[in-house]
Amino acid sequence: MKAFLNILNVNAFTAFIFLAGISSYSLAGAALPAPVELQVIDTPNDGGGSLTAIWAPSPADTADAQYQVLLGEAGTDPASLKVIAEFPANARYVKDAKGAWWTRPAERSWHHYVIRNGKGVDLKDGTLYAVTVAMRRGEERVVGPLLQATPSPNWFNWSQVNNLILALGFGALVFYTISHAKRNNIFLRRIPGLDAVDEAIGRATELGKPILYLTGAHDMGDPSTIAAAVILGRVAKRTAAYETELMVPHREPITMAVCQEITKQAYLEAGKPDLFKEDSNFFITSDQFSYTAAVDGIMLRKKPAANFFMGSYFAESLLLTETGASTGAIQIAGTDSDHQLPFFVTTCDYTLIGEELYAASAYLSKEPVQIGTLRGQDMGKAVILSVILIGTLLATVGVATGGSWPQLFLDFFKDLK
């Protein structure tokens, strides 16, 4: 691994140059050993502007001794190097760094210091710097070899390679289950909130009242808004079939434009293009409470028979749903905002909790391709549960035995930046 990282850091100089100038002010015949096997490398897996110094542990690594990290531009007088960090000699080990085992620059017992910009340090990419480490105890001070290295940005963050592998693995699993679902029937458990969609639209039709559909607080870049827009298509198809009025107030103009297209298509597919109204999707405002006040006003004036709250919500959730409940409307919510779930559960007749929002499209369409995705998600959850169980077991064994081998497994499932 060390050799691999050395390849990554081609700009690091490995030549050992002992400091004649600096050693002149270290005490002759000092008992303190100088830092040995010092290496200075460009910090791996970063966006540049950083260098890393690593050196071997020493028998003199006690709390009363200190290490000093010295930095300066290459070619300047070694005596003019600036002390940029000083810390106890029994601190800053590789094992303390938040890195995975596959990106460790040295043995766990080695010392490790990352030089970053800020507090008098201004490292520029492509510039050669001189770095050394000194050891100090009281008046004694010995300086290690002076090394040179150049900080540079990297094109891949190897700390996140586990994330990439897991994402690709989950992607492959989803596509496998989609192809499997095309050939086989997959059982789908009942979701009462989605079964109630027809009931809610039917009720609105019987009462001759409109249906109110909200797509949440986020823009189209958020998966929950996309899920809400997809469900809107299914709901709009049924409102078209039942010839019921649909109102979709928006907080974001792009979402409004997308939802207009989706609604139009739903009416076309239902064979009722003449019933489509361009202004069934309309913009109110992007401001949270102004939007809430306007929607509450619509609820109180138009008294919709069914309210749908899909997507992400914040503090406005209770203001909307409690007003809706006071008008006697049947209310169906679906959100991935876990912090707003209690409000929806207490004020709505049905609530789609978390992932059910994403499952709604598959549930309503019953298309094998969509249902296959749900099977993939279920298998993903099974994998995560297994990892939690095995990880808990291994972490416990690791603590009990003092062994570091469980880390080989545990690191792979850590989110490392």
């Binding site: 897996n45 970063d46 966006g47 540049g48 940005p153 094109w155 891949f156 963050n157 996140q160 990439l164 994402a167 989950f170 992607g171 989803v174 596509f175 989609i178 998966p223 929950s224 996309i226 899920a227 827009a229 997809v230 103009p253 409004m256 997308v258 297209e261 989706i262 298509q265 076309l268 597919e269 202004d279 309309f282 913009f283 401001d287 949270q288 409470f289 102004s290 809430t292 006040a293 006003g297 004036r301 503090a315 209770l318 203001l319 409690e322 409940a325 991935d336 876990d338 779930l341 207490t346 978390g354 992932e355 994403y358 499952a359 499209s361 969509q370 995705t373 993939g376 998600q377 995560i384």
Partner: protein, 216 residues
């Protein structure tokens, strides 16, 4: 035509989706620059889309006034509010204060918009009480469990409650840190997998209904 309406958007979605998924793994400044540029582009597109939004808003309220629908007087208030605020903003050059003195634009913001927003937010307290009253009636076993848990947590979060029920502090911490946190994490795992699966379906064109236009 099908190419422009369906295939080209799907192609753009796939290329940009994969590009920005990959961007997450690249720490190089060029990658950061790409993300920043894309974010700026989105803001610019959002700015243009605002014209669509305002057109929709004006149209909606013009229709209300013309048809004299219920509450059409509020539509007048909306027009007046928009024009007065825009005029005040232009007159004050977008500044809320000038040489220490509050401008008309700043007055509209500080003495009209902020109190109105505060009023809406304050209503939340009353709505929480009414929602809690309805939910905490122990009509079923689940509602009874909710009621007991809520009482313990409420007591445990205030000094007087903890004084009256000495164990409520520890029990409420346990409810929040063990029961509540584990359920929230379970929901988050499901949400994350659902969001990733939906993103994959969109990137690879399996889910296309967001484009409108139905199946080819």
């Amino acid at each position: 035509m099908i190419f422009l309406r369906r295939r080209l958007p799907l192609l753009i979605t796939m290329i940009t989706g994969l590009l920005f998924a990959g961007q997450y793994y690249v720490p190089h400044p060029s990658s950061e620059l790409l993300l920043t540029s894309a974010t700026k582009w989105l803001q610019i597109i959002g700015g243009f889309a605002l014209v669509l939004g305002i057109t929709s808003l004006f149209h909606q309220h013009a229709v209300k006034i013309r048809r004299q629908e219920a509450g059409w007087g509020y539509s007048f208030v909306l027009y007046a509010g928009v024009f007065v605020t825009v005029a005040a903003g232009i007159f004050a050059r977008g500044k809320e204060s000038f040489e220490g003195a509050m401008t008309g634009f700043g007055w509209v913001y500080s003495f009209m918009l902020v109190p109105l927003q505060g009023t809406m937010f304050a209503i939340l307290a009353f709505f929480i009480a009414s929602a809690a009253y309805r939910s905490f009636r122990a009509r079923s076993r689940e509602a009874a469990v909710l009621l007991v848990a809520a009482v313990i947590v409420m007591m445990g979060r205030v000094p007087l409650g903890e004084y009256l029920m000495p164990l409520s502090g520890d029990v409420s911490q346990w409810i929040l840190n063990v029961l509540n946190a584990s359920v929230r994490r379970a929901i988050l795992i499901g949400v994350s997998l659902g969001a990733i699966a939906l993103s994959l379906k969109i990137i690879f064109g399996v889910e296309r209904s967001y484009l409108g236009g139905g199946k080819e």
